[in-house]
Symmetry: none
C-alpha cells in the first residue's frame, strides 16, 4: 500500500501532529476495593479535553502488528509511521544501539555486547557479575579509545546498563542485509567456550573478520579486568533500509522524544530528532518553536507505558490526565490533522505490553464524529474507523491533510 | 501471519475450547405472522447463558474467506483453525473422502466417483438412475473386494449416498501436489464418451495410469450391473500438506464431532478425532474425560446448520437454545479461553450457507467486555473485536491463553 500512497502524494502547507502516549491502551481493573473497579486507565482518568476531541473526531481501535500479537516498541512505532512491522523488522543490534543513543547509518552493522567473565577459554559468567553501570561506562570509554577502528572500519561504542553495551561497525560503503548474517558468539550458557563467528553469506565475510578482531582486541585490553575480561556479541544487524519518511510521504518530520530509542527510530526513517529533555509542555513548546520548518510532528509521551509496565494503574491514570491538560496547547497550534493514540497497549493489570488494539482519535475537518462520548477503548470501539491496522493511520492522516490525490479516474 | 505466530509460541498449561455451532450466523425473519418477525435465529432464541457470557467477553463478527464469499464447510473450518482457506484449498476428492469417514494421508490421492450408465461407449446416465444407497453400498463393497490394489497401490473405497462414492489410492510413498493434476473423466453431459485421463504433469503419470486401470477393472466387475455399469471419476486431489496443528501452534488438539467430515478435517491437521456419537452433553462429558491430555478442544455442534439449510427457523432457534443449556457444563471446566462461534452463516431465510460474518464470543481474563447486551449478530457488531478475518481467531485465542511472546523489542 505504501507504493500506492507514494504515487498519490501532493504537497501543501498542512501540518500533521501525532501525539503518541506510549502503551496507551488498557484493560478494566478487577480490584473490587478500587474506585476504578471495572474501568480502564483511560476510563478512570479525568480527561475533559480528550473527551471533547473524541466526540468531534473519527475514532477507532488500531491493531499494531496483527490480531493477538503483542508488539515491542520498535514494531509498534513502525506501524504508526505506516511501515508494516512484519516486512520491516528491526534487528536486535540496531534497536539496542538506537536505545543507547547511537546513530545508525546504511553503512553500519550494529551488535549488542555483554561484558563477560572468561577463565581457561570457558565463559564462567555471561554478565560479568552484573557490574555497576558507572564503572562499566569508563571501561567502555577505554575500549573506544584503544580500538577506534579495525581494518579501516570505524567502531562506535555505546555504554549501556550494567554489563551491556552496543557497538556500531561503520564501513566505508553501504551494506546489504546479508552482511549481518552472522551467529551470536554468546554460548547462552555458562561453562562453555564462546562460539566462533561464522558468516552465513559471502557478504558477511568481512564483517565477521572485523567482529572477531574486535573480540580478540577487546580481550587483550581487558585481560587484567576480571571479572569483566571478555566480550560476547549478539544480534548482528544492518540498517533495515526502508524508504525514508520524506521518500514515502514527502513529509519533513520532527520527532520530539525524551527517550533515545524513540529518537533513534525516528532518525532511522529520516526524521529530525534532536536530543530533548523536558516534560510534555516543553515538548509542545519545542514543536511550536519549530512549527514552520516541518510538516509532521511526532510527540512521544513515555510515562503512560512505564506506569503500565509497573502495574501502577493510578500512576498511569495520572499520566493520562497530564497529557489531557497538555492538549489545549497542541490544539492552539491548529494542526490540520491531529492524531492522539498509543503505539500499543500496556494494561496496568498485565504489567506488560499486550496485543489489544489501541484507541485512536483522528481530528480533522472532514470526519463524521458524534459516535463517541469520550476517549476510551470501549468508546473507540464504536467509532467510525472501526478496528483497523495501524499502518493505515498514516494514509488516513495524509488524506485528511489534503496530501493525497485521487486514485485512478 | 502463521509463520510470525510460529516464531512467537511459548508453552504453558492453558486450555483453549472452540465451541462451534455450525452455520450459526442468521438473518432476520421476514414473515409478519411469526412471533420471531424481524429477529435473527440468535435474537429469537432464549439464551441466558450465552447472553451473560457475551456481556463479559470480547465479541465481534468474523469473516470466513472474504467479504461476500460464501464458504463451504471445509474453508469455514480451516479459517477457524487459522489456516487461510484461499491458500490451503482442500481438493474435492479429499473433502468427499473425509465426509465418508475415510482417512487421508500424505501418500494418498482421493477421487470422487459416480456410478453411471454406459451404452456403446457413451454415457447415457451420469448418475445411474440415482440408485438406492443401501444397494450401492453392497456394490461398492464388491468393488473393494475385487480391486484391493493396482500396481502396488492400495485402493480404499468409501460408499456414499445413492450413486456417489469415494476412492483413495494409497501409494507407497508421499506424493507432491502435482501428482493430482489429472482431468475428470466425467464428460459433464449425457450422450458423450467418458474423457480419457490425461496427466497434466510428469508426476501425475503414475496416478493417471492407476486410475485408468481402476476405471477399466471396475467396468469389468460391473459389466452385468446395468444401470450402474460404469464409474466416472472427478476431483483428483492430494493431502493439502498444511502444517499440522502441533507444528503451527504447539497444541495437542482434540476434535469432538459427530459428523465424519469434521473429524476428517480435524485429522487432516493432526488433531485427534475419535469416532463419536451422542448429543452435546455427551460431547462435553467426553471433553471433560480427556481434559488433561489436550491443550485445544474443538466441539462441533452440527444441527444449527442442518435446520438452517432446511429453512427451519424455529428448529434452528431450538438448537441454539439446546447449545445455550449446555454452556454451563463447558464453563465449569474453566477453560482459559473459550470461543463460541460458527464456521459460517446459514440463515434459515436463505436455506443455504451465506457470506455473512459470523458472531463470536471470546471469553478470557484480559478483555474489555461490557459492549454487548447479549449474543447475536447485531450485538456482536458493537463488540471490541470489530469485523475481522476468521484466521485471526486462533492468534487471538493463543494470545489470550498466554501462549505468544512479544514480537520484536
Amino acid at each position: 500500500m505504501q507504493s500506492v500512497i507514494k504515487g498519490l502524494l501532493q504537497k501543501n502547507g498542512s501540518k500533521i501532529v501525532f501525539f503518541v502516549m506510549d502503551g496507551l491502551g488498557g484493560l478494566p481493573l478487577g480490584d473490587p476495593r478500587s474506585p476504578f473497579k471495572g474501568k480502564t486507565e483511560l476510563e478512570a482518568a479525568f480527561t475533559p479535553n480528550l473527551d471533547k476531541l473524541a466526540q468531534n473526531s473519527a475514532c477507532g481501535l488500531h491493531v499494531p502488528v496483527g490480531f493477538g500479537i503483542t508488539p515491542g516498541s520498535g514494531p509498534g512505532h513502525l506501524g504508526l509511521f505506516g511501515y508494516d512491522p512484519v516486512e520491516w523488522e528491526i534487528g536486535r543490534g540496531i534497536l539496542e544501539a538506537l536505545g543507547l543513543g547511537l546513530e545508525v547509518k546504511r553503512t553500519d552493522v550494529a551488535i549488542r555486547c555483554n561484558y563477560a567473565t572468561i577463565e581457561n577459554h570457558v565463559v564462567t559468567d555471561r554478565r560479568a557479575g552484573r557490574p555497576a553501570t558507572e564503572k562499566m561506562r569508563k571501561v567502555t570509554e577505554r575500549l573506544q579509545k584503544q580500538i577506534p577502528e579495525i581494518n579501516g572500519v570505524r567502531l562506535i561504542f555505546g555504554p549501556g546498563m550494567e554489563h551491556r553495551f552496543a557497538v556500531i561497525m561503520r564501513f566505508p560503503e553501504a551494506l546489504q542485509p546479508e552482511a549481518a548474517m552472522i551467529n551470536d558468539s554468546d554460548p547462552q550458557a555458562e561453562g562453555r567456550a564462546p562460539l566462533p563467528l561464522i558468516p552465513r553469506h559471502p557478504k558477511a565475510q568481512k564483517v565477521a573478520e572485523v567482529a572477531q578482531k574486535f573480540i580478540d582486541r577487546a580481550a587483550a585490553v581487558l585481560k587484567d579486568d576480571h571479572p569483566q575480561n571478555f566480550v560476547l556479541v549478539r544480534g548482528f544487524s544492518t540498517h533495515p533500509r526502508m524508504p525514508s519518511f520524506a521518500e514515502a510521504y514527502g513529509l519533513r518530520g520532527l520527532a520530539i522524544a525524551t527517550y533515545p530509542m524513540y529518537r533513534g527510530l525516528a532518525r532511522l526513517i529520516g526524521m529530525d530528532a534532536p536530543d530533548f529533555s523536558g516534560d510534555v509542555s516543553g515538548q509542545i513548546e519545542y514543536m511550536k518553536d519549530n512549527w514552520d520548518d516541518y510538516d509532521f510532528f511526532f510527540v512521544h509521551f513515555k510515562k503512560t507505558d512505564s506506569f503500565g509496565e509497573d502495574g501502577n494503574f493510578a500512576g498511569k491514570v495520572g499520566k493520562i490526565e497530564e497529557a489531557d491538560r497538555a492538549l489545549p496547547a497542541i490544539l492552539a497550534l491548529k494542526p490540520n490533522v491531529l492524531v492522539v493514540t498509543g503505539d500499543h497497549s500496556t494494561p496496568a493489570v498485565m504489567k506488560s505490553h499486550s496485543w489489544h488494539p489501541v484507541p485512536v482519535i483522528l481530528s480533522a475537518p472532514y470526519v463524521l464524529g458524534g459516535l463517541t462520548e469520550g476517549f476510551s477503548e470501549r468508546q473507540c470501539a464504536r467509532g467510525e474507523l472501526g478496528v483497523f491496522p495501524s499502518v493505515s493511520l498514516m494514509p488516513l492522516a495524509l488524506a485528511n491533510a489534503g496530501r493525497l490525490k485521487k486514485f485512478g479516474s
